[in-house]
């Protein structure tokens, strides 16, 4: 196997600086049936998120008398990856769905909706590195679009370590051949990062690198957060115009 150089002349393969995000595009309210929705591109990721709820719980026995149950389904279309993926959840999708749900759950004011369900479905139409972060960003916007009361915005981005260097929002090659991948998600309230809501690590880093990675991720998240806000604002303005 030939050696792949991921950092050339202090730049990344796609020309980005180490702390530079990939291009992001966010559009809220793209679906008609869902209560809230969002289309999001982040690098090569193309994802759609839909939120249904609060609605009745099926099957009934899952109901919680004191709060809404939150469900999150991360799913990849067969054509979203190089080699056709068999439809249906695999182990990876199930784990991603779990940690993503747990990232959103403490931010959703679920105690306002006892005995109901809030369902979040995210479809990856085209997959690139960081699809779980792209999906969380889209889900967060879709939740707000659905009018679900939230304690703040959830914003997600990963940091990778490649050839000993920490880089923000890794691309595919950095993810595949790098030494570590660290997806983060944060709760951002009043324009400030308040806490970590998703955190995984897959690779090998030192404690110091991890702390640096966290700082890098926070700066990246703040940029994404602005784009999420803009997307919601744009949808809101459009609706205002229609109503006039």
């Amino acid at each position: 196997m030939e050696e792949i150089k991921l950092i050339v002349d202090g730049k990344r393969l796609d020309g980005r600086a180490f702390d530079e995000l990939r291009p992001i595009k966010i559009e809220a309210g793209v679906l008609n049936r869902a209560d809230g929705s969002c289309y999001l591109e982040m690098g090569g990721n193309k994802v759609v998120a839909a939120v249904y709820g609060p609605r009745e719980v099926h099957p009934k026995h899952l109901e919680d008398p004191s709060k809404a149950i939150i469900r999150y389904r991360y799913s990849m279309a067969p054509f979203s990856v190089e080699e056709r993926k068999r439809p249906g959840p695999d182990r990876r999708s199930i784990e991603i769905s779990k940690v993503s749900r747990e990232a959103l759950e403490p931010v959703i004011m679920k105690e306002l909706f006892p005995r109901s369900a809030i369902d979040i479905f995210v479809e990856v139409l085209q997959a690139d590195a960081g699809s779980r972060t792209a999906c969380l960003n889209a889900a967060s916007v879709a939740l707000i679009d659905a009018g679900i009361p939230m304690r703040g915005m959830v914003t997600s981005v990963a940091v990778a370590k490649v050839e000993g260097i920490l880089v923000l929002d890794p691309m595919k090659e950095e993810d595949n051949y790098g030494e570590a991948d660290i997806p983060f998600a944060f709760l951002i309230r009043n324009g400030k990062i308040e806490s970590i809501t998703l955190l995984q690590m897959d690779g090998r880093v030192t404690k110091e690198e991890l702390k640096t990675a966290l700082e890098m991720a926070k700066r990246g998240a703040m940029q994404i957060y602005q784009l999420q806000r803009e997307a919601i604002l744009k949808k809101y303005i459009k609706e205002e115009e229609v109503m006039e």
Binding site: N32, A50, F79, E83
Partner: protein, 259 residues
């Protein structure tokens, strides 16, 4: 409860309109909703298409790989069509393997492509008897505002038109465009008593999911019919359905030719 009442009100409104010879969105009975087609949006796929039919949205992606031919057609490629009614697209869709509706959708789309001989499968033979191209068409529903069937069929043929056979990646020669030689178009109509509502939207389907899908090829041959829904079809209505389906398909086909 209120949901049920809402549905009842909506149905009554649709019915009242139909009796007045009108449709709730002002369309003529044989008028198709606006169509938007985008192709090539999924770079990881060999071909892809997004179709918006009114508010109904679908993506179809084509992936190809090399596999063994069927024993009775050793020199022909293989088409495998799958559809997923993912829960993102409608509050009534459930997670899980394709149910009877998703299966019917995939099979009807598949028959249209197959019997119109849309793809020249003989050109997809790599090595007779052992290696042929397999075409996986995956239909992914995004938003179901009625008539996913026609949107899916249109997305499928559009994605095929957009497909490049990845021969280089599989080290069997140069890439080439998928040989598409016919354009099957599915036209679905809602049947209500003796009325035919072409391309029904979701609100219209509240009167009963009683539809007929007729797929025709570019020579106006009929290549697939599917009566879907628990209803009795009068023979005179059927005759009318044939005529309208052939006519409307021509319109859609013209649109497709432009992309």
């Amino acid at each position: 409860m209120s949901d049920e009442i809402l549905m009842e009100v909506r149905r009554d409104y649709v019915l009242a309109k139909i009796r007045e010879g009108e449709r709730i969105d002002g369309r003529r009975f044989d008028e198709i909703r606006p169509i938007e087609i985008k192709t090539g949006l999924i770079k990881k796929a060999e071909g892809s298409a997004y179709v918006k039919l009114g508010n109904t949205q679908v993506v179809a992606g084509v992936k190809m790989q090399i596999g063994e031919p069927f024993p009775d057609t050793p020199d022909q490629g293989i088409i495998i069509t799958n559809a997923e009614l993912v829960p993102l697209a409608s509050p009534t869709f459930e997670p899980g393997p394709p149910d009877e509706n998703a299966i019917e959708l995939a099979r009807v789309v598949d028959r249209g492509i197959r019997h119109s001989e849309a793809v020249d499968l003989k050109k997809l033979c790599v090595e007779e008897g052992s290696k042929v191209w397999m075409i996986f068409i995956d239909i992914w529903a995004l938003d179901d505002d009625g008539n996913l069937m026609d949107a899916s069929a249109l997305a499928a043929i559009s994605a095929l038109l957009n497909t490049t056979v990845p021969a280089e990646r599989f080290e069997v020669g140069d890439d080439f465009p998928l040989p598409v030689r016919n354009l099957p178009i599915a036209i679905t109509s809602l049947v209500y008593e003796d009325k035919i509502l072409v391309d029904p939207c979701r609100d219209e389907l509240s009167v009963g999911k009683n539809t007929i899908t007729i797929t025709t090829d570019q020579d106006d041959n009929i290549v697939s019919i599917q009566k879907s829904g628990p209803f009795l079809l009068r023979e005179d209505v059927f005759d009318e359905l044939l005529d309208v389906s052939i006519k409307k398909a021509k319109e859609v086909r013209r649109l497709l030719a432009e992309i």
